[in-house]
Symmetry: C2
Subunit: 323 residues, 2 copies
């Protein structure tokens, strides 16, 4: 019914230890042996059983993810990170568990815990420190182990892209509520604009609160009040979507009249948004590595994961541009 490593070993005429070695890409396998085994695996459509791998690779470690009250667990970001973490831990044979209750209510905590950076994260971090359990924050959190997309560079890339297209009048969509992500993305953006001699004017530093609806409202309101710009950088794709909706309703063409650039690079159905893409699998990978380092007693480190410009169809030269 199900193809196992024994079957592959039998058909290939080698031991299952050898098959395991090629599965895991160990270098100590003769090239022709490797090829033969790989060939059989392909032919039979073999997929190693993750549960068995997990059990035998069992690193003895358990990593938990703590979910706070305020965590927006139905946001795309949360969902995508979650799946990436589940995949990553599975590959390493690490047990991944969800801690949805108050941390102090657990009799036994995992060997390390991950948490999303949010308003009330510090209490949990303090508690974990008191229990000597290494913590890794997903988001910028100096003084602790953390992993975060390189937001500042993302803002810079956004500015560079728009400047290069010829834009001179910009708007930004973020939030004034304390938010490292919004702040860093805005700073990277504004600093680059400033250096280029085209600073963001304060009344176009808008608030979309990381949701589509508030973004729609902010853009619509600003435009109706007479503020004009030819390029908008939104600190999330969802805000970019809201902005595009508002511009549509205002009769403004995207990207012909106004360019819109997002941040995240999530697979939104329909529209191909130009955006600064995060590398979610990499973030998950780094988070797990940091957890492992923490378990092994190493000092907490911060990791910035690179972002990159992902071209879509929502940016173009400004309307008055000779380009």
């Amino acid at each position: 019914m199900k193809i196992t490593i024994d079957e592959i070993a039998r058909v290939s005429g080698v031991s299952k230890g050898t098959v395991s070695r090629v599965i895991n890409g160990k270098t100590t396998v003769a090239a022709h042996t490797r090829e033969k085994v790989l060939d059989v695996m392909n032919r039979l459509g073999f997929v190693p059983d993750p549960a068995a791998r997990e059990l035998s690779m069992r690193s003895k470690y358990t990593i938990g993810i703590s979910i706070g009250q305020g965590d927006n667990r139905i946001s795309p970001y949360f969902a995508l990170i979650w799946r990436a973490l589940a995949r990553e831990t599975q590959e390493l044979g690490i047990q991944f568990i969800e801690l949805s209750d108050d941390l102090s209510s657990y009799i036994r905590l995992p060997n390390a815990v991950l948490l999303f950076s949010a308003q009330h994260t510090h209490k949990r971090l303090d508690f974990l420190k008191s229990q000597q359990i290494p913590a890794v924050v997903i988001g910028h959190e100096p003084g602790h182990a953390f992993v975060v997309p390189d937001d500042h560079t993302g803002g810079k890339l956004a500015a560079e892209h728009l400047l290069k297209l010829g834009h001179r009048r910009f708007a930004f969509l973020g939030t004034h509520i304390p938010s490292q992500a919004a702040d860093d993305r805005r700073n990277g953006f504004c600093e680059t604009l400033l250096k280029a001699g085209h600073p963001l004017s304060p009344e176009l530093n808008l608030e979309g609160h990381f949701n589509t609806l508030d973004a729609y409202r902010a853009i619509r309101k600003a435009w109706e009040q007479g503020h004009r710009f030819t390029a908008l950088f939104a600190a999330s794709d969802e805000m970019a979507m809201g902005a595009i909706g508002a511009l549509q309703d205002l009769g403004v063409q995207v990207p012909e009249q106004v360019s819109v650039l997002g941040f995240d690079g999530f697979p939104f159905p329909g529209l191909r948004l130009t955006t600064i893409a995060q590398d979610i699998p990499r973030i998950a990978h780094e988070a797990v590595q940091l957890a492992l380092s923490g378990i092994e007693g190493e000092d907490p480190q911060g990791v910035y994961v690179p972002v990159q410009l992902q071209m879509g169809s929502t940016t173009a030269p400004p309307p008055d541009s000779p380009v």
Copy 2:
């Protein structure tokens, strides 16, 4: 480092077979033995290793989930169902795999496959049938095995709730694009209103396309055109959120002037929406059961999972009500 079943057995002074029996709630364990073991487990904070359970319970089956092009994989619904399915299959020791490519490109398919009901699902269903692989559709799909929330009853519950509060002028937010979910929810709603003698007027059968932004626009436009209602039923929570935003912007109080009722019952941060809640874990459970039945050669069945009214703070009697 890690508590295992052996440790529990040792401390409790029984064999690990017995510990396993209490873990799995087998009835063939003496009451005092059970208590003793349970006590030790609690005291030591024991959690059975899922990978080990999976491996030894191994039902020999693999269930795949096929992800279509059009599937909005970052929608909350998708993400929540996904996690529920992963949990469900894990508990049953079933391997759960993701089929993100075209089904025909796999050398070896799982023993059953789940898919979301969508526009272009039929090709995949036909292919699976040709391969004799049982399929289970998440959504209404007569003629195949399917599991779907009881949308029609949900619409009815919504109408009953609003009628009971005293409302007489209603609006509905769905989509005119073919959508079983929207249609059934609307039908249940409208039929109930009609029977009560307060039919939905056609110009208040609005389109929000299951997203916040279009819902906002639809409500705002309808209201600005002079259409009035005191109660709105949105076929998804996301549309309800958009509607509430629009009403806010129009200076209309929710729920004092207009009640808003959603559908889904997802944990949105912030607002406590009155809504018709789906039972996601149950949907996942039924989907897996149907897959198992299919594998065992039983005839495809359709399952309707009950929904229920979940009270929040967005519905109230209408403004002119003496209630």
